[in-house]
Symmetry: C2
Subunit: 779 residues, 2 copies
């Protein structure tokens, strides 16, 4: 039976107090000395062959019979009032099956009521104006050109600092500043006495850091295929949260949830922007209703980059104070965060400043700023990536000024407990992360890191090394449910409404089931991404999948195993407590000759299919965090400004490692995306026209394999058995967090210039080098 | 947790002793005084709109992208050896994508090893020779004509009596007589001392009855759409048993069950022949593998009637003995049952003779006879329909000879207990069925039925009335499983691997869930027919669905309700035992003002989806049976021989009635099919060529609505709470069982001729009338 409990769950850097229902009994944690057969072994992805052969069906591959293609007419203006909208010519184009706009679509509030499905006032380039469904995509796009729209342009702003200037026009109905929990605009946090701390500090550093807008650019764009069957709707969507889509679609279209069926079996990458439901899914559903045919509506790459979310730019003014001995005493952080036209949160940028170091006096103030650009969204460790760049760069500045080794500084200012909640961490192996990260590069972790300019290099290249630490949530929490079925042939099927967004979750979760149930990994078939099969699992974001769903599938497998043991006990005529199961067979403890295959035992009974039901229990009192450290080695070309990351050592504490091969792959991906954030990626906007200039893959600079350093990536494989009984924390986001800061610190270490604006392009390097000497004199 | 038990389950008239696994706790039975909100109310089919608008997707409607069409080359000979088989020309036809035959297909034993997927010796007209997959069906059929086959014809037999004649050639490798459990051929049962009983009987009747081969003619023919995705196979099939198909496909193709996915969400009727897996499903899977494309292979109507099963003809020699006072003392039954080329059972024909009446001395001998015709299959109450015609006709003959009222005879020889197992019945309302059946026609059940020739009529028509009783299993049993999910908006989803083969099962099962969970019927979405969602449920045959799956879904709903009550208890701050739930709201007992909607309670918690898990418990010690009586009123045209059934009263004891509307619809369908069996339907074979002559809907005479009498159909709505906690038994098969016998008895009652061969065509009536006078003199 069940009980109701209150528990804290931190998702994407934001803490939620949740009232959840959990079942009464959970399995015992796997201890460190558990004799693992499958967990902890490096295995290939169970869905690898399907993915590389093209057999895997992504949303883009879904083609119900009679399917139409849809396209959306979007605003070419950053801010304008629609004065005329005439779709009649489009409707008459042969092959066009439905046209909708605000004239015909129901009134559906969006973005918390600040917008509608179709607005009369469009507020960014890419805003929805009308949509067409036609026999093919070319016809749909031709029809868009036949829609006559007249706009009355309105004043617009696309720069966050300009949006705050006095007399700036409102970019949206609620103004230009996000009203967060202080009720005034911005989120304010403080502890201790900041002024006093700075007054008594021996050393102070103060700088402003800037990060640019980073685009997700998942391989598969957002999109959906929708199909009505009577009053029931099936939605194939490239999403990180099938139940979220189901809930949104059902509530917006005023349907019972039970009649909306959302499928996302394979999806081509999601870094947070696919955690919500965008307007086009509803537009597709309305078009499908109007046309009486299934609809495919996938965003183009340009649409994706105009409207489907981004990591908003930041301006971070940070000031640190310390004692002469290196004790950190004060942190002050002021953040402007570009959240686009309708963003609704920004405080996460301050997360690292609040918690990464032991520091009694902290103040952070985060202001979300609206502009006439597409709404931001969660993006792989949102806020923490940006905040860590500023904090860890500033810490490096502080270390330089103190003349202190960065490793020694980190040991000295290590936070033993959560200073916000005043409680223990469930686990924290951050100091080991520093040590192993150094060791992986052949450095002695007990010795100081090489000082600036000390590494040998060949002109015009200069070599440097930099370190940055990482804190992030990733502890997951309830609710998450799973079912494990054991077929009569000894194969198992897992049902869980989770997703594998490219992370390898399906593989690692299958390993957990195989381990607990006692069957070979190949005997496990993991079915996910389907609300019809379910059961409920949370969004696959916030590094939550392993710590939330892992315990649920293990719990279901344990339930199934216990049932199997009771059945085996009947036929093998010993109490179930005397039985062991592994690799598809049951054995009486100490009697190897008693071994019977599971399928032979199940052949004795009639068609029974064992179903084990599992759930995720409540979180403990302790604070759940992931930790990590990265050390970057870079070479900077002092003649061209080019930076190349030559080696990068990443070590993260994400609890028990289920699949070391999958974990490494996650780390590689995070590091590479961190390199993009640090050195390459930047949405460029023409502020005179309000148009993003590079919403595509030709001009937007994504890192490629040619940008990859030699990577040393590993997890501290120590189970966090307080966090959950599997002992794992999430690994998706940690590896992107410290990369840019480590690189910037390594650049300083190489050439003595402090790069305070991302991305660190050759132009900026050359500019900084040119200003280097006077800068040095000032300090 | 679970336990292993042994229990008896009777399916299609055959008893199975099953070792099953059940969970430990079952809900309490719904008592007679339970205050029902939804159960017992007449409701429309929940899937009615989808079925009548064409929105429902049957197997025939499935069209995966790239799908090919397949056709099968079939033997034109009733028995022949293939001497030459050359598919090369077919393979070269443009548009042909794959050809398989015994030259290329793997060796797959079929029919218990008596056959292979493709045989070198074909043994009936329609036997599989080769198969082609092509871009369209016309090309596939054209390709069949290009396959060159030469046959060496072999001796064949298509008449069951001829098959037993001395020196008859073997029609198949195992000979012409089915070896059943006596090891010799035939199934022999006896109790008491038959010879002694006949010696001391005052009255004896002895006759031979014949029934013809009846074809199923479900609206949708057998067929499958199959699709490989990597090493996984999806099969959409028009089947009554998705898990049976999965098991067969997996074992035949040597695949893990977890990689075979079988779907049958909607299917166009099944009367037993769709309980197994026919060769064409495997042929389709092999073609799909060879072509690398999905395949649709649906049987044509002719193929369906040649090979997909039938109710085999019978010759039944029956002898009854009785005391002068009407006490039945002896029954002797000798049955020949045409089971086609590979049939494997026949004993069910003797079922009614063994058990319908109290009789101490019984002998039955059933011989299954093979011929060179398509294999028989289960067909709505297989055996019992045929056996009841002979038994109840003979009982009517006995009553006439005794000068005894048929109702009085039935009261006198009522069996109070199961004479085979020497134990009680869980429930038996047969006497009430007789009474209500009479009352529905305005007759006084305590008075004798009208005697032959006593009813007024207008020449050349003569009117008569006849009665027949029914016994059948229909008690169901484990294993069956279900899941019930409660969404946060208060809607519920049921998952169950059962089927609605047109019976209305989905509706009645939804009513059970709505009742137990306390939500409106419209809030219940019932998902079935998908092995991926599951969980396991048995074949939808043997009138098992309600008694097997009903308790499973109720048990799952109860589990979900209890969880809801615990959650509500937390928020409403009273113990859960004080709470009531109905119609989507929870109320504290006696406090109407405390009423809170389920969705409002669930809104207090985070995304929790209650999942209730349910199962079907073991059967009780008692024997489970359904009972019934039908009284037919007919008019016989003495000039033309035409028989019209004018009124038919059907009353069956199927336990608690969940949906009176659905039940009536089942009864109507059974009666109409019984009329077809009695008056119209007959497979006609040209015994000189071995060819069935009417395997189609033009020449095979199915009843239509023009043949429907005024029908009075009802259930004795008395819960059988010993059988299971829902109290229902199965209703699908009972109504077809007594119809033909009641009609034949009514014809005797009208015109004084005993019709001993089905169907009772005008020709046979006229022949009998012509022989009537001398017959009467003989007796």
């Amino acid at each position: 039976m069940v009980r109701v409990v209150k528990t804290k769950v931190e998702i994407e850097g934001r803490v939620h107090e949740e009232t959840v229902v959990v079942e009464k009994e959970e399995p015992q944690p796997w201890q460190e000395d558990h004799d693992f057969v499958c967990v902890g072994k490096p295995v290939d992805r169970v869905d690898g062959p399907a993915r590389v052969t093209g057999a895997a069906k992504f949303t883009y591959d879904i083609h119900p019979a009679g399917m139409l293609y849809a396209a959306v007419l979007r605003s070419p203006h950053p801010h304008a009032r629609i004065t005329t909208l005439d779709t009649s010519h489009a409707e008459k184009l042969p092959g066009v099956r439905a046209v909708i706009s605000r004239q015909t679509a129901p009134d559906i509030p969006w973005y918390g009521g600040a917008s509608n499905l179709f607005d009369q006032v469009v507020r960014f380039v890419g805003d929805e104006v009308a949509a067409v469904a036609a026999d093919d995509l070319d016809t749909a796009r031709d029809a868009l050109k036949l829609i006559r729209v007249e706009y009355e342009p309105l004043p617009f702003i696309t720069d966050i600092e300009e949006a705050l200037s006095p007399g700036a026009p409102d970019v949206q109905p609620r103004g230009n500043i996000l009203r967060e929990d202080d009720g005034q605009g911005g989120e304010l946090y403080s502890r201790g006495d900041l002024q006093k701390a700075f007054n008594s500090a021996d050393v102070i550093v103060e700088s402003t850091y800037k990060t640019s807008t980073q685009m997700h650019n998942s391989l598969e764009t957002h999109g959906a295929v929708v199909m009505w069957e009577g009053d029931e709707l099936t939605v194939w969507e490239s999403t990180q949260y099938i139940y979220g889509v189901r809930h949104r679609v059902a509530s917006v279209l005023k349907m019972p949830e039970s009649k909306v069926h959302v499928i996302s079996e394979y999806m081509g990458g999601g870094f947070g922007s696919k955690g919500g439901t965008l307007k086009q899914t509803i537009i597709a559903a309305l078009l499908a209703k109007a046309a009486g045919r299934p609809i495919k509506l996938m965003l183009t790459r340009t649409e994706e980059n105009l409207l489907a979310g981004n990591r908003g730019a930041t301006v971070q003014k940070i000031k640190l104070g310390a004692k002469r001995d290196g004790t950190l005493t004060a942190i002050d952080l002021e953040v402007l965060n570009g959240i686009g036209i309708y963003g609704a949160w920004s405080a996460a940028v301050a997360g690292p400043a609040k918690e990464l170091y032991k520091c009694p006096n902290v103040r952070t103030h985060t202001i979300g700023v609206h502009t006439n650009l597409g709404t931001h969204s969660a993006f792989r460790a949102p806020g923490f990536v940006e905040g860590t760049f500023a904090l860890e760069s500033a810490v490096d500045e502080l270390c330089q000024k103190l003349g202190m080794d960065p490793l020694a500084f980190r040991r000295k200012n290590h936070a033993d407990k959560d200073q916000l909640a005043d409680q223990d961490y469930s686990s924290k192996q951050l100091l080991q992360c520093h040590e192993v990260a150094a060791e992986q590069l052949g450095l002695d972790p007990r010795s100081p890191l090489p000082t600036p300019g000390s590494l040998a290099s060949d002109p015009p290249w200069k070599r440097g090394i930099g370190i940055a630490s990482q804190i992030w949530s990733g502890g997951g929490g309830p609710p998450a449910h799973a079912l494990v079925r054991l077929n009569s042939d000894g194969t198992a099927e897992v049902q869980c409404g989770t997703h594998d967004i490219g992370t390898g979750a399906k593989t690692a979760l299958s390993q957990i089931v195989a381990e607990e149930l006692g069957v070979p990994l190949q005997a496990v078939r993991f079915r996910l991404g389907d609300t019809e099969s379910g059961p409920y699992a949370p969004a696959s974001m916030g590094s939550m999948t392993m710590p939330s769903v892992g315990p649920a599938v293990r719990s279901a497998a344990e339930d199934a195993r216990q049932q199997l043991m009771e059945i085996a006990s009947y036929f093998m005529e010993v109490p179930s407590s005397h039985l062991l199961v592994a690799n598809g067979a049951v054995t009486i403890e100490g009697k190897a000759e008693s071994r019977r295959l599971i399928r032979d035992i199940l052949a004795e009974i009639s068609d029974y299919m064992i179903t084990g039901k599992g759930f995720r229990g409540p979180n403990p009192r302790q604070t759940l965090r992931t930790w990590g450290a990265q050390i970057a080695e870079v070479e900077v070309n002092t003649a061209t400004g080019q930076v190349r990351v030559t080696r990068l050592s990443a070590v993260h504490d994400v609890g028990r490692v289920i699949n070391p091969k999958g974990l490494r792959s996650q780390f590689y991906g995070g590091i590479l995306q961190g390199i993009g954030f640090g050195l390459l990626e930047e949405r460029i906007v023409d502020h005179r026209t309000g148009h993003p200039l590079n919403p595509n893959l030709e001009e937007y600079r994504l890192p490629t394999i040619a940008d990859a350093p030699e990577m040393f990536a590993s997890g501290i494989d120590k189970a966090d058995i307080l966090a959950n009984h599997v002992g794992s924390k999430g690994a998706g986001e940690p590896p992107i967090i410290p990369t840019a800061a480590a690189i910037a610190n390594a650049i300083y270490n190489a050439v003595g210039v402090r790069m305070r604006e991302l991305p660190i392009t050759p132009r900026r390097i050359l500019d900084a080098l040119a200003q280097n000497a006077p800068q040095e004199r000032q300090s």
